[in-house]
């Protein structure tokens, strides 16, 4: 059977999940009816090990957070198990510090490596990481990070106490990275048993001048791995844009020349090593009042603005999960806004269109599709 060549944009919104489908050209898109409509969907992730399998972080204002799973590209959904915090009456916990309350929101799914076909990771608020080895039918807390001794100093950010980033090293399934708002990034080398903070040289501009480079407390907004150079990471932090070339042992600020390098999302296309896309924000809206995407080239160490100021004027807001790319070459770039637009470039930023639909406020954008040939 021919491999599925469709490209699907998976959208998590304030009022459900949507899927826009196209072919490899990515010029015309068919938009699905909404699913999970009564839920605030923070993330929709496809599992590349099991084509058609999707996971949605469905946060219901009334009935709480739910893990929703589909095996048919989102045509039908069912609720699987909900993870429990260490404070739950059903789950005794160890001696480490634990969160004071229940799970507030589910944030981010990360499918495991191909050699662990049942493994999923799930990040949640308040600063929690869970692991499943049966595709979400049950969850275990990753206590090494959830009860990290440093936890007593962790605070929530404006978006909550979210563990929003989980990155796996494609060469070694034991090496895992997480990013948490107002806490920073951590790395595990032993499959999640122990974790080391990895925030060296990342500035906290909101702290007093003499203490702006702490071990933790950085408000990381999102991190992307460079798939072809998995020691390299691109980081959008509250305090600016950074790159690391040594598995997050240290960071170098690269955004300063942009002037204001605040923002939320970042994505790095697998087919173009050394490239990362960022959307600069002035506070919570795009800088200078027009939609823009900045491309960082890590080989030339130069920035390039991918859109003219006249292309899409407006005061758009783009959240941390709402910048995505695909695996094709040229890579597609996909950006969702809180006012319901999805900007799409099928050719690495040369041309752009807005999907012909106004969605509810967009929380997340991710892409499922074929790889470059």
């Amino acid at each position: 059977m021919a491999k599925d060549q469709k490209v699907r944009i998976l959208l998590g919104t304030r009022k459900g999940a949507f899927i826009a489908t196209s072919d490899r050209r990515r010029r015309t898109w068919k938009i699905s009816a909404p699913a999970l409509e009564s839920n605030d969907v923070y993330h929709v992730a496809a599992d590349p090990r099991h084509p058609g399998h999707l996971y949605a972080a469905a946060n219901n204002e009334f009935w709480g957070p739910m893990v929703q799973q589909s095996s048919d590209w989102g045509k039908t959904w069912r609720e699987t198990a909900t993870p429990l915090t260490p404070v739950s009456k059903d789950r005794p916990h160890g001696d480490g510090p634990v969160p004071a309350g229940p799970i507030i929101h589910l944030w981010h799914f990360e499918p495991g490596p191909s050699e662990q076909p049942g493994r999923l990771y799930l990040g949640a608020d308040p600063h929690l990481l869970f692991r499943s080895d049966n595709l979400g039918e049950s969850w275990e807390p990753v206590e090494g990070i959830n009860q990290h001794p440093n936890r007593k100093d962790w605070q929530p950010g404006n978006g909550g106490a979210c563990l929003h980033t989980v990155v796996l090293d494609p060469r070694d399934a034991r090496r895992i990275y997480v990013g948490m708002s107002s806490v920073g990034t951590f790395r595990s080398e032993d499959g999640g048993r122990s974790w080391t903070p990895t925030n060296k040289n990342v500035e906290c501009p909101f702290l007093p001048e003499e203490s702006r480079f702490p071990e933790t407390g950085q408000c990381v907004h999102k991190v992307a791995i460079d798939a072809a150079n998995p020691d390299t990471f691109y980081r959008q932090d509250h305090g600016g844009i950074y790159v690391s070339h040594d598995r997050m042992n240290s960071w170098t600020r690269i955004g300063k020349e942009l002037g204001d390098d605040f923002g939320f999302g970042v994505a790095s296309p697998p087919a173009r090593p050394g490239i990362a896309y960022f959307v600069r924000l002035d506070g919570f809206r795009v800088t200078n009042g027009h939609f823009q995407v900045q491309e960082w080239n890590d080989k030339t160490r130069r920035w390039k603005l991918l859109l003219k100021a006249t292309a899409f004027p407006g005061r758009f807001t783009v959240l941390r999960e709402a910048v995505a790319t695909d695996a094709l070459d040229p890579p597609g770039i996909y950006v969702g806004t809180t006012t319901g637009q999805v900007f799409v470039s099928p050719d690495a930023g040369k041309s752009w269109q807005v999907l012909p639909f106004v969605f509810p406020a967009i929380r997340s954008v991710s892409v499922a599709g074929p790889a470059a040939q």
């Binding site: 009564s38 204002e61 009334f62 009935w63 709480g64 609720e79 909900t82 429990l84 915090t85 404070v87 739950s88 009456k89 059903d90 789950r91 309350g101 229940p102 799970i103």
Partner: protein, 89 residues
């Protein structure tokens, strides 16, 4: 015997319109409800056992959600309504 009436939205999670149950307290009633309808587990209460913020439980017409909550005694009670809060304006 208590008459328990459910919010229509809860049918999505397997709740009936209404049913007859016995319990001495609201916590005990919710344990029974969750055993009978497992998909309601963690919908009405979070994993610490407390009522979710926007779940409202009325005992014989009185909202106990923000006062005695799950510790409410149901001795002598006849009707329990389990609803979600509604805001508007």
């Amino acid at each position: 015997m208590l008459e328990v009436r459910y919010d229509g939205w809860l049918r999505e999670f397997g709740a009936p319109n209404r049913e007859q149950l016995e319990a001495g307290s609201l916590a005990e009633l919710l344990e029974t409800v969750e055993q009978r309808h497992p998909r309601l587990r963690f919908k009405l209460r979070d994993e610490t056992g407390q009522l979710r913020r926007y779940v409202r439980v009325f005992v014989d017409g009185s909202d106990v959600s923000g006062s005695t909550g799950v510790t409410t005694s149901l001795a002598g009670a006849r009707t329990i309504d389990i609803l979600h809060s509604i805001a508007g304006g």
